[in-house]
Each structure stands twice: as structure tokens, then as C-alpha cells.
């Protein structure tokens, strides 16, 4: 099956064409959401960016940089408060050296909430004009799998995808949100998630997530939240992966479900 992706320049070829509104601190998440809504961009809430110490200052900064450098991202607007530990301006200046399609807006320098929203919308529109969507064949699909390593179906899928020369990455974190963040850092285009029987289906704002049900009571009760029922043959899942890569929306995408969990090492101050 031939795959068509989106040419995102130095970020690579993506399976989605998302503009990212990146709040550099929890204080700018609400304004980021207002901007994202107006221009149909993607954003996420988080509780970081300030009051962080030690290894987290670099760690969370690198995590944000990694989101901004993801192949599914076309351009980035960093929304900063101004006085946070992770300085939005410095973050954006670092990001722009890697990907030119990056701008920033600082609330404390922009004249307030409404002025920031207005200026932010203008900035995103100018990014859209400067970096229009271009389609390009995608030859190196990268698939992430979130599952415990002893899942036999996950292992069968790994083999089937490797046989198709598709790059795969298996991660079993402490929660799906935690695994998704690690897989994002590996720049996977899409994710297959096998939540444990007591966990719901979930998504990730920048990456389509295909949720595969187990036969647990919870998963049976909420089967409508899963793209793939328990017991589905591997070849059907592979077919779905290729369709999603070509643009078919997953249920998590339709529900806009999923939060980004930034990995934190140290307590906040």
C-alpha cells in the first residue's frame, strides 16, 4: 500500500498535518487553547514550566522541544507567560534553529490576555501562509507500540510490521500516557495501544492512537472506545495501521481524547 504523508521540512514527513500551540508554562495553557480553537490547531494542558528544579529544568525543556520537532507537526507557536523557569522566548529561539516555522508570543509583553490571543492567531495564520501543506510519499513509517513486553499479540504485530520493513518501537511505561510520551520522543508517526484491562482507551494530541481492546469487563463495557476488538487477527490490524497512516481518523482522534504527560523526575518547589 502506497502512503501519502505531509512534508514538514526538517521535521520529516508526517501522517498528520498539525499546527502546535505550545504553552511553555501551565499559566499559558488556557490562552493557548483559545488560540488553538480559533485556528483549528492542536494544543495540550500541562502543569509544568515553573517551580521546577534540578534535572527537570532541562528535561521538561527537552520534552517540549521534542514535541515541537515531531514529524506530524507543520509549525509551532510557543505561548509564554514571560517570568517562567522555562523561558518561552529561549525555548522558541532554540526550536527555530532546528525548524524555521516557529514563532512565539509572550503574554507579559503582549498587553494582556485578549491582545495575546489576537497576536497569537495572527502569528499562526502567517505560519500557515508561509508553510502551506504539501503532500509527499511516505516511505519510512514509524509505528509505536504501547504494551507490556509479554503481550503475545503485540509481539506478533512487531514481527508482522518488521516483515513489511516498518520501523517499530515497543514501550511499556507506568501508564499509557507515560508510554505515549516516550514513543513521541522516538518520533513514531502513530501508536498502537494495548491498555491493561483496568485502563480505558486514550489518545495523544499529536499522534493518532489505535486502541486495541482486551477481553476485560471494562473493555467489553466500553467497546465503542476501541478501534480494534479483542481477538482481531494481526493482518486486519496491519491493514488498519496503513489506513490510519493514510488519514483515517482513530476513535481517540474523533473523541479528541488524551492528555500529554510530561515526565518529571523531581518534586516541584
Amino acid at each position: 500500500m502506497k502512503m501519502e504523508g505531509f512534508d514538514h521540512g526538517t521535521r520529516g514527513i508526517g501522517v498528520r498535518d498539525y499546527q502546535l500551540i505550545l504553552p511553555s508554562v501551565v499559566c499559558s495553557t488556557h490562552i493557548s487553547r483559545r488560540i488553538a480553537k480559533d485556528v483549528n490547531a492542536v494544543t495540550f494542558s500541562h502543569q509544568h514550566g515553573c517551580g521546577i528544579i534540578g534535572a527537570d529544568v532541562a528535561g521538561i525543556g527537552d520534552f517540549f522541544a521534542s514535541l515541537a520537532d515531531h514529524p506530524n507537526v507543520s509549525s509551532v507557536l510557543v505561548v509564554s507567560l514571560g517570568c517562567e523557569t522555562i523561558q518561552g522566548q529561549e525555548l522558541a529561539e532554540k526550536l527555530v534553529t532546528k525548524n524555521a516555522s516557529t514563532k512565539y508570543q509572550i503574554i507579559q509583553d503582549s498587553g494582556g490576555v485578549e491582545a495575546t490571543v489576537t497576536a497569537g492567531i495572527t502569528a499562526v495564520r502567517s505560519l500557515q501562509e508561509s508553510y502551506p501543506t504539501k503532500r509527499r510519499p511516505l516511505n519510512d513509517l514509524r509505528v509505536g507500540i504501547s504494551a507490556s513486553s509479554n503481550s503475545s499479540i503485540a509481539n506478533n504485530l512487531l514481527e508482522a510490521l518488521s516483515a513489511l520493513d516498518i520501523y517499530t518501537e515497543l514501550v511499556g511505561g507506568k501508564s499509557p500516557a507515560d508510554s505515549f510520551s516516550h514513543l513521541m520522543e522516538k518520533k513514531v508517526h502513530l501508536i498502537l495501544s494495548f491498555p491493561t484491562g483496568d485502563q480505558p482507551a486514550s489518545g495523544f494530541p499529536l499522534i493518532p492512537v489505535i486502541n486495541i481492546a482486551s477481553d476485560s469487563a471494562l473493555h467489553q463495557a466500553i467497546s465503542a472506545d476501541f478501534d480494534v476488538p479483542a481477538g482481531t487477527p494481526v493482518e486486519n490490524i496491519v491493514k488498519l495501521i496503513l489506513e490510519v497512516a493514510n488519514g483515517r481518523e482513530t476513535i481517540a482522534e474523533i473523541n479528541k481524547s488524551g492528555e500529554i504527560l510530561a515526565p518529571r523526575l523531581v518534586r516541584s518547589t
Partner: protein, 384 residues
């Protein structure tokens, strides 16, 4: 002055709400987007989102206290819980009820059948509760109805001279009248703890204040980090603050000169009136969350740099420390205390203005943060 002009919502357990919110609270991070969708489609419910996915680790009890306390804040007429119906989620709901939450709706994902249906049911429930909330009227309330949270963020060189001591004047007036006032941010009393301890009602409370600071500092040092290098923050330094001690001496002024009645753990609900100290982080949003969970029903937030932040449950009044910022960030600042530095007003005049604004907002006046719909939320974790 002793006759209270306050009108508020009386809760069955005797506490007072200054707002009558219907809160949508997901108890699993994967239900955050459902909560947000209910908020957007309802006629005025408020939702929060967070990143806890039911992990059972050393932070569990802190998270349970935080979510249960937040859900049962007296400003909430009702809370709609979105859950996976796990034992710990049920504990949170039970705890919220025991803390006085009058109206509880528990929606489990499995019962709804899908996230989509959960949102549909949630919107119906929210709108019904909002209709009932509108029927409840404010009634005359005593001064003790006010539980004030004292917060500062993005401090600058004027914080300790203008907005913070002016807030201290307002806090002292309220405490004198029988209200409750809570100072938080353990980070920001480091170096000033001995001065606060000297104002404790008993020697034991004084020791508790000092021990809270010691416990905090050793938990940070345990991480191998010297906090005194990380504070004041870069934003504070750009705002003109020189040292942690200077920041702390200024931050402590928010609590005026009243006697400290007691020390509260993070998210603990005070059982008496008067001035308290709560052990919270300096992170503005984790700190506001701890106040809300401790049943603070109104906050005054002083800032040198300016911030849009608000809360889903508590009205947050922003006071600028300086006139240039108050002028340039009009739509996020409620009051300007920079007039003290400008030589236009005295400390007590601004203190009186803050006091009057607290009364007006308690009686229903919207704050800038409420008008803008700002309600950020953060869970505070000690272990990671």
C-alpha cells in the same frame, strides 16, 4: 463595620460558598477531555483536567486529599465525578462527601458505555444541576464565611513594599472580624520563618512553622539540589529581587501582623477561624489547588510581572505591585497597589481598597480571571 455585608450560599455542614459552581471532575487523566467537552457544551459548568491515571504510589494519599478537597470546596454546589469506578476513585468521592459536598453525581465510563456517551450524560446532568443551583439564593452571612487565600507569584522588587503589605492590612482586618486567612508557599517563607514563628499563638505552633520549613528544605536537599540557588527565580531576578531572603520577607507580609492560629498540611481544611499557615509549594497553580482543596473560598493574588491564572472554584483577585504592569496588562489585573510606590495612596488606603474588593467579589462581583475563564489546575506531588 462588625455587621457583615456578606451574602453567600449556606452549605448543609455550615460552611459558606461565595460561588455556586457545578464542577466536572475527572478522576482519571484519560477522562480529562470528556470533562472539558461537558464544560464546553453545558450552560456554565466548570471542569478541571489533570495527569493522574490512578497510579498507586507514594503520592496517592496526597492526590486523594487534593481531589476530594477540591471537589468539596464550599464554592461548589455540586460535583460530577467521571470515573472508571476503581476503589481509589470511590474513596475520593466518599471523602468529598464527608468533607461536606452537598450534591454528588458519579458517572462511570463503563456504565455510560463509551466516552462519547459519558459526555452526553454529563451534559444532561450538568444542566440539571445548574438549574437547581440557580434556585439557591444567597443569604446574609457572617464574616467567618470568608476563608481567604494569600498568594503571590511573579514577584518583583515592589512586592514587599506595595501589594503584599497592603494585602496584609486587608487580611488583618478580616481576621479581626472573625474570618479565616491562609498563608501558603513554604518556599517563599524560607529565611523568614523565625519572624512568623514569633507570632504563633502558642510555642508549639511556632515550632510547627519552623519544622514545616525544615522538612521542606530537607526534602529538596535530599534531591541533591540547593534551593537557595534556584530561588529567587529568573523572573524574580529580572523583577529586581536580590535574594531568597528578600523574596521571603516580602512574601510573608501578605499575612499582615495577626497571630498564627495553626499550621495546615497541604489540602487540609482548617477547623477553626483565624490566620493559618499551609505547607504548599511556591508553584502558583499547585499552591492554588492546595488552597481550594483546603476549602479556601476566595484568593487575593499579588503579582509584579502579571499572570492570567485563575481557579475553577475560587474567585482570584489579582493585585499589581506596580503601575506600569497594571496599566499594560489591564485585562488580567483587578487592582493596582503600585499607587503606594507612586506616592498617591497610603498602605492603609490600598489595604482598604483590597478589603472592599474582597467583599464585593465575595458577594458575586466577577474577577478578571473569572471573566476570562481561566482555571488552570496542577496536582502537587512530592515524589515525582
Amino acid at each position: 463595620m462588625n455587621i457583615s455585608p456578606l451574602k453567600a450560599y449556606l452549605r448543609p455542614n455550615g460552611s459558606w460558598g461565595l460561588r455556586n459552581h457545578v464542577l466536572v471532575l475527572p478522576l482519571h487523566s484519560a477522562l480529562s477531555s470528556s470533562a472539558r467537552a461537558i464544560e464546553e457544551a453545558s450552560q456554565g459548568a466548570v471542569a478541571i483536567t489533570h495527569d493522574w491515571s490512578g497510579e498507586i504510589d507514594a503520592d496517592l494519599e496526597r492526590i486523594i486529599s487534593t481531589l476530594a478537597g477540591f471537589a468539596s470546596n464550599p464554592n461548589n454546589f455540586a460535583t460530577i465525578f467521571l470515573t472508571l469506578d476503581s476503589p481509589n476513585e470511590r474513596r475520593i468521592i466518599e471523602r468529598a462527601e464527608s468533607l461536606g459536598l452537598p450534591n454528588v453525581v458519579h458517572l462511570s465510563l463503563a456504565d455510560a458505555g463509551s466516552m462519547h456517551k459519558l459526555v452526553d450524560v454529563g451534559i444532561l446532568e450538568a444542566d440539571q444541576l445548574l438549574t437547581r443551583a440557580l434556585l439557591q439564593e444567597r443569604i446574609p452571612a457572617p464574616w467567618s464565611a470568608i476563608v481567604l487565600g494569600l498568594e503571590c507569584g511573579g514577584s518583583d522588587a515592589l512586592s514587599g513594599i506595595t501589594a503584599n503589605p497592603a494585602l496584609g492590612v486587608a487580611s488583618d482586618m478580616l481576621v479581626d472580624l472573625g474570618a479565616t486567612s491562609i498563608l501558603g508557599e513554604t518556599t517563599e517563607i524560607l529565611g523568614a520563618e523565625h519572624l512568623l514563628a514569633a507570632r504563633a499563638i502558642t510555642p508549639e505552633v511556632g515550632v510547627e512553622i519552623v519544622n514545616t520549613v525544615l522538612r521542606y528544605e530537607s526534602s529538596i536537599n535530599y534531591e541533591g539540589i540547593d534551593l537557595r540557588g534556584a530561588q529567587p527565580s529568573r523572573g524574580n531576578i529580572e523583577g529586581g529581587l536580590s535574594t531568597l531572603e528578600e523574596k521571603s520577607l516580602g512574601a510573608a507580609k501578605k499575612a499582615g501582623n495577626a497571630v498564627f492560629t495553626g499550621v495546615l498540611e497541604y489540602a487540609e481544611v482548617p477547623s477553626a477561624h483565624g490566620l493559618f499557615f499551609m505547607d504548599t509549594p511556591g508553584h502558583d497553580i499547585e499552591q492554588l489547588t492546595g488552597f481550594a482543596a483546603g476549602h479556601v473560598n476566595i484568593v487575593v493574588f499579588t503579582s509584579g510581572r502579571g499572570t492570567p491564572t485563575g481557579s475553577a472554584t475560587m474567585p482570584v483577585i489579582k493585585v499589581a505591585t506596580n503601575t506600569p504592569m497594571a496599566t499594560s496588562l489591564k485585562d488580567l489585573i483587578d487592582l493596582n497597589a503600585g499607587t503606594i510606590a507612586d506616592g498617591i495612596e497610603s498602605l492603609s488606603e490600598v489595604g482598604n481598597r483590597i478589603f472592599n474588593e474582597i467583599v464585593a467579589v465575595a458577594n458575586g462581583k466577577e474577577t478578571k480571571a473569572e471573566r476570562g475563564g481561566h482555571h488552570e489546575f496542577s496536582l502537587s506531588r512530592l515524589y515525582n
